[in-house]
Amino acid sequence: MADINVNIAGIQMKTPVMTASGTFGYGLEYADLVNLEDIGAIIVKGTTFNARQGNDYPRMAETPSGMLNCVGLQNKGVKYFCKHIYPKIKDLKTNMLVNVSGSAPEDYAQCAEQINELEHIPAIELNISCPNVKQGGMAFGVTTTGAASVVKAVRAVYHKPIIVKLSPNVTSIADIARAVQDEGADALSCINTLMGMSIDIERRRPRLSISTGGLSGPAVKPVAVRCVWQVAQAVKIPIVGLGGISSAEDAIEFMMAGASAVQVGTANFINPAISVKISQGINDWLDNHGYRSVQEIVGAIL
């Protein structure tokens, strides 16, 4: 048995496979269908300072090898999370990370400040890349100054590891990565969804309520691998790779490109137990190829 333990910015995980925000609820939704303890970390649904109703239905469209969504960060706000959800998830035997979002550096910081108080949340993922909210979200993630301003504001009030989730919808993801590293980010998640669109030609209208949405699933994988590879050459902090991962081979591809860990997103919808299957598959692959540790393949092509 190869060693698949990883440590991302101080977060100790027994497998490099995590579940991506927005695809795994608060973990509890999947509890009947997969052993949550066998997941490296669960990143819970995007949380904002104030409650958000999200966008109107329809919020989803299936596309070739992928799906578009425009959920728009529907959540009940950080206070509700701390009071009603945290007590239910704090004793789960895995790393529970919170994805923090906002529409101004101040409300990212206000949200992170409250999560800083939660003992059993070892880190946050900072979402500066949501394509589905009008103000904020991706607006910060597409410029170096915007990205840096959010990380700086949160860094001042949040004292545990910060993983910054980057947008692929940029000219140079490496520049953004460097900018957030310089402001004290501890790790990076690459990548959030790609902005896309789909039209129902019979009804002559967009399939999504706000016309555009974020593309995820196997269709985006090559773009994500490229982003991880470019970012890995630009920064020293660890990278968590995601974008269309649905098999152990996919995960290994990301790790060879420079990711120290991976997240599974859309594939959870197809097989709720896929994250654990991928962990087992990584282990088998390492054994079959004579590796003793998963560390040996991280950045193998760099």
Binding site: T23, G25, D32, G54, M60, V71, Q74, T266
Partner: protein, 257 residues
């Protein structure tokens, strides 16, 4: 209620028409508890589509340990499901959603209104109501007589009222025009079918002051309340149809009826 991911065995495939297939699935273990009106997420057995397809449970045959799914073959996903053969395996995540209301009082008259493939969950619900002391009746609408599905099964459970748009069976017109709605007083109504039909019946029920619930079929991805794609606007805000529904009391929705 515990959820499962299982490979069920396709034991029978009945082609009801060019468009509709009835799949009867079985398992080596007894099927889990399933409430009428709940649904399953089916993994489509082809590579053209990515996501699972939510399909309502048509009937649970406990004597033979069989779960029936009525499939309307419309897109690539449902066509692939409909082309399965006996002996094939079908991967299901189930049972999902809340299901229809339990019996409210013994002897209550419950009208179950369905149209198109929306008739599917009403068969199981009608059976449940009858077995638990209520008096169900069915009101089923279709374009023509050829589009009426499983009528003998419905008739074996309760009285069936029919409308067709071309008068080829039952009364002519839409379900809302059937004379039984004027003649008989029902204690409550449950509806599953195309949204305009559900809204029309909901409007009738509201006016007649009859409690009414509808089963929605919003597009969904996870089926577990995680992705928040299938939301419906309610008096409590946006809620997931897959977990808070698919069955809603019309008073909880924000429909303009």
């Amino acid at each position: 209620m515990r959820k499962y991911q299982k490979n069920l065995i396709v034991s029978e495939v009945e082609h009801l028409s060019e468009k509709y297939v009835l799949l009867k699935l079985t398992d080596n273990e007894p099927l889990p508890e399933i409430h009428p009106g709940q649904f399953v997420e089916v993994l489509t057995p082809n590579s053209k589509t990515l996501l699972r397809r939510p399909i309502s449970v048509n009937y649970v045959d406990r004597d033979n340990n069989k779960l029936w799914l009525l499939i309307a073959m419309i897109g690539d996903g449902t066509k692939a499901i409909g082309s399965l053969r006996p002996g094939d395996l079908l991967n299901l995540v189930f049972p999902l959603g809340n299901g229809f209301s339990p019996v409210q009082k013994v002897g209550e008259e419950v009208l179950l209104v369905g149209g198109g493939v929306g008739i599917a969950p009403l068969l199981e619900y009608g059976k449940y109501l009858k077995e638990n002391g209520a008096k169900p009746s069915f009101l089923l609408g279709a374009r023509t007589a050829a589009d009426l599905l499983l009528i003998d099964k419905f008739e074996s459970i309760a009285k069936v009222y029919i409308t067709t748009e071309d008068a080829s069976a039952g009364e002519k017109g839409f379900v809302t025009q059937h004379s039984v709605l004027q003649k008989k007083n029902f204690d409550r109504i449950s509806v599953c079918g195309p949204k305009p039909m559900m809204m029309a019946i909901a409007g009738y029920a509201k006016q007649a002051n009859i409690p009414c619930e509808v089963s929605l079929e919003n597009m969904m991805a996870c089926g577990l309340g995680a992705c928040l794609c299938c939301v419906e606007k309610t008096v409590k805000g946006n809620v997931c149809v897959c977990t808070e529904g698919p069955v809603f009391n019309i008073n909880d929705l924000t429909w303009q009826i």
